[in-house]
């Protein structure tokens, strides 16, 4: 499953070592990309690999290494594939098994038992989007994702409040997209089949999501036509009745939206309609990771939060908010010391909306 050619092409120059966010925190060679490539080479040579679990587990799959690699290798992809090899050999961490159990029993990565679309009630009586009354068929659906549904329900409600004006619907029984499973090498077919069944039944053409993890999964693992909320807002910005706000913000590129899928300009276009934008110390293709992805948050929380603290230091001091377009980035950065300064693009739009 691992593309062994990629490992052969690695000349161990170390260009990835200089940018690996987990290595910055951990300091040991096995926790940087080059070290991981060396270990994966050994695993593919037949070594058992249980001793590589922590090394591979701490990769956020931020793909900055893939961006920097002179040989054109994509180590973030190799790491994901290697995790799959380990899982197929039944080599997994306790946290991976717990994650799989949570998703399997509750349908979400957080293990929440409440209603996934409970946030619909926030849209008020006059909107009254009772889930049962929603469309049987729809061209476009909003895929909220686990994190927005259960941790940022206001953001989810705001997003759908806007999207609904343009005829966007939701799936009747959305499940976790499977991203946390896929990124950590586990099987996500159960989640995928359940979501795909609904998407097909509703004749959905485009899935819209505000989560970078869901975005890359729905697009690259499901193979669907996907649009990020940032793209949607950028296309409709003139119809949003926005009132400019008199402050400066910065924008944190979520790795899986920006570097991995090339969505850089759209969120910036929306922000510039609203207020001043001052870039972070590293941005766009070279933006550093928030530490929340690739299962690191679930498996190695201290590492994850320390990466986030370093990312916060990249923000220009004059920025009132650090705007981003992924709820996992919002959570990790706020918990690492952002204290509410980190907001979703939709939250900024809501501040500026006349309606």
């Amino acid at each position: 499953m691992v593309d062994v050619d990629q490992i052969r092409r690695c000349v161990r120059c170390g260009a990835c070592r200089a940018v690996c966010p987990s290595f910055e925190v951990m300091g040991w060679e096995s926790f940087n990309t080059r070290g991981r490539m060396i270990l994966i080479g050994k695993i593919m040579d037949g070594l058992n690999g249980s001793w590589a679990l922590e090394s591979l587990g701490t990769c956020t799959t931020c793909a900055l290494c893939s961006q920097m690699c002179p040989a054109g290798v994509t180590p973030s992809k190799v790491v994901e594939d290697a995790r799959r090899v380990l899982a197929s050999r039944d080599i997994t961490g306790a946290w991976q098994r717990e994650l799989r159990e949570r998703i399997s029993s509750t349908g979400n990565s957080l293990g929440e038992t409440g209603r996934r679309h409970g946030w619909l009630s926030m849209l008020g009586a006059e909107a009254s989007y009772d889930i049962k009354a929603l469309d049987v068929k729809a061209d476009q659906v909003y895929f909220a994702g686990c994190m927005a549904s259960y941790r940022y329900s206001e953001t989810a409600a705001r997003t759908f409040g806007i999207l609904r004006r343009f005829g966007v619907s939701i799936l009747p029984s959305e499940r976790c997209c499977g991203s946390p499973l896929l990124r950590t090498g586990l099987d996500a077919s159960e989640c995928m089949e359940e979501n795909l069944r609904q998407i097909n039944e509703m004749d959905v053409d485009v899935v819209i999501t505000g989560c970078a993890g869901c975005y890359t999964t729905l697009k690259n693992d499901y193979g669907l036509k996907v649009m990020s909320v940032a793209e949607f807002l950028a296309a409709r910005v003139s119809e949003l009745e926005i009132r400019p706000l008199d402050f400066t913000v910065t924008y944190h590129d979520p790795c899986h939206l920006g570097r991995v899928n090339g969505i850089f300009d759209q969120p910036r276009r929306v922000i510039k309609e609203i207020c001043e934008l001052e870039e972070m110390r590293s941005s766009r293709e070279l933006a550093r990771c928030c530490g929340g992805g690739g299962g690191v948050r679930a498996g190695y929380r201290d590492v994850s939060l320390e990466i986030a603290r370093r990312r916060l230091a990249d923000a220009p001091p004059e920025a009132k908010y650090i705007v981003t377009a992924c709820p996992m980035c919002v959570r990790n950065l706020n918990e690492a010391g952002g204290h509410g300064r980190v907001v979703d693009l939709v939250d900024l739009v809501a501040m500026a909306c006349r309606r």
Partner: protein, 452 residues
């Protein structure tokens, strides 16, 4: 393990994953350590060395592990000392034209800190964004600008070194020149950690030039390109960089960054630096001198274009598989150097070696100081190609020595080129061995390197 833990706490490891990751650098040299230790202070390094000395444990210091000759690979096992955690810039002393740094500082990190002061640290290897000052000093590394500015040894004023028995010495001082006794600083530069472990370095810095211009000249053959270099220097022009990119390298560069505009053929990139006026004059003179030999000449002065070209050039060595995904670049025989006048002969010899062994190569490098990087590329899964590659590497090393040159200009000897030391140095190697015995009587420091 317990004794090491007493010194550095949790910053010691003997986990299989760590030992495996510290068993190699970017060369083909491998050796598994028994312990990896990440010290943070000179006192810790001193205690670790005393321990290693008492118990006669081999000890190999390592920076970022970007070496191309196995200098940081623990051939005899023992302890690997990962110095990359000692990464503080201790002082930038512009008034004295120097910076005081710990050995784990990354070259680019230092340059970023110096830029606001209007200064820079000239040695700039292709691995500047990764490699550490300690490793750079220990290999007397250099880079593109050294043709004008000199190699690392010209920039080291003073080193703090922990010797084999754990004692700590200083090899120099803050003064910019000194004629007091043996030059121990230069003895340590390029010693590849076989005489002591560097724990701090005082470095000379240089003012950033106001203006740079790039002259791109293309030629029908690399031999003609080499002749143009010799002609330029003998006309009295000292460019701040003089790089050759053969036609294969140019193709790889275009794959790396499709926006880069480079002419076809074998190219020489001359850079001149100075003021607006002086660079305009120098660029014109370079063009005039090369005019007879070149197919085309273009002068660039746009900062962005120049930095894009240099950025791509820095990483081109690792990028060969962009041209042919079935091939990988292997770092052997990649760093020979010859006297400047012999450059055209070297270019011809490399082509002959490539033809006779059937191993393709891209040729690039700091041709202005006689240093050619030959990037051989093979299908690494083919044993037969490996055998031919090793033959090609051997031939190029011998050719360089025969031309009065060196088997390594800036990457070091390590374990990869140790067998050529005797051929290159003759009886002088015995003197090196005597120095080694005097400073490291038990032979614990980076054993197995430099043929000592």
């Amino acid at each position: 393990m317990d004794a090491l833990r007493d010194i550095v706490g949790p910053r010691v490891s003997n986990s299989p994953a760590e030992l495996c990751c510290y068993s190699c650098d970017a060369s083909q040299v491998h050796g598994l350590p028994e312990y990896v230790v990440r010290p943070l202070t000179t006192a810790e390094v001193s205690r670790i060395l005393r321990l290693a000395y008492e118990r006669e444990i081999p000890l190999t210091a390592r920076g970022a592990g970007t070496g191309l000759a196995g200098g940081a690979v623990p051939l005899r096992g023992g302890i690997v000392l990962d110095m990359s955690g000692m990464n503080k810039i201790l002082e930038i002393d512009v008034e004295n034209l120097q910076a005081h740094v710990e050995p784990g500082v990354v070259v680019e990190q230092l340059n970023r800190a110096l830029r606001p002061h209007g200064f820079f640290f000239p040695p700039n290897p292709g691995s500047s964004s990764v490699c550490t000052i300690g490793g750079l000093i220990s290999n007397n590394g250099s880079g593109m600008r050294c043709v004008k500015y000199g190699t690392t040894k010209s920039y080291v004023l003073d080193l703090e070194v922990v010797l084999a028995d754990g004692s700590v010495i200083r090899t120099g001082s803050k003064v910019l020149k000194s004629s007091a006794g043996y030059d121990l600083t230069r003895l340590m530069v390029g010693a590849e950690g076989t005489l002591g472990v560097i724990t701090a370095a005082r470095l000379r810095i240089a003012p950033l030039p106001k203006r740079r211009r790039l002259i791109m000249a293309s030629f029908e053959s690399s031999e003609l390109a080499g002749m143009a270099v010799v002609k330029t220097f003998s006309a009295g022009i000292v460019p701040s960089a003089c790089e050759i990119l053969d036609s294969t390298t140019v193709k790889v560069l275009r794959r790396c960054d499709p926006n880069i505009v480079l002419p076809d053929g074998d190219i020489i990139l001359f850079e001149v630096d100075g003021t607006d006026l002086s660079t305009a004059e120098d660029a014109r003179r370079v063009s005039e001198v090369c005019a007879e030999l070149a197919q085309s000449i273009r002068i660039a002065s746009d900062e962005r274009e120049m930095s894009e070209i240099w950025a791509a050039r820095e990483l081109v060595g690792a990028a060969i598989s962009r041209l042919d995904p079935s091939k990988s670049r292997v770092y052997v025989g990649e760093d020979v150097g010859v006297p400047m006048k012999e450059i055209p002969t070297l270019m011809r010899k490399v082509q002959e070696i490539s033809d006779s062994t059937g191993i393709p190569a891209m040729k690039y490098g700091h041709i202005g100081d006689g240093n050619l990087h030959v990037a051989w590329f093979i299908d690494v899964s083919s044993e037969e190609e490996w055998a031919r590659l090793r033959r090609a590497a051997d031939m190029i090393h011998r050719a360089a020595i025969e031309l009065g040159g060196t088997v390594s200009s800036e990457h070091g000897i390590g374990g990869a080129r140790a067998e050529y030391m005797e051929m290159q140095w003759g009886s002088a190697l015995e003197i090196m061995r005597a120095i080694k015995r005097a400073l490291d009587p038990k032979g614990i420091l980076n054993p197995g390197k430099l043929d000592l």
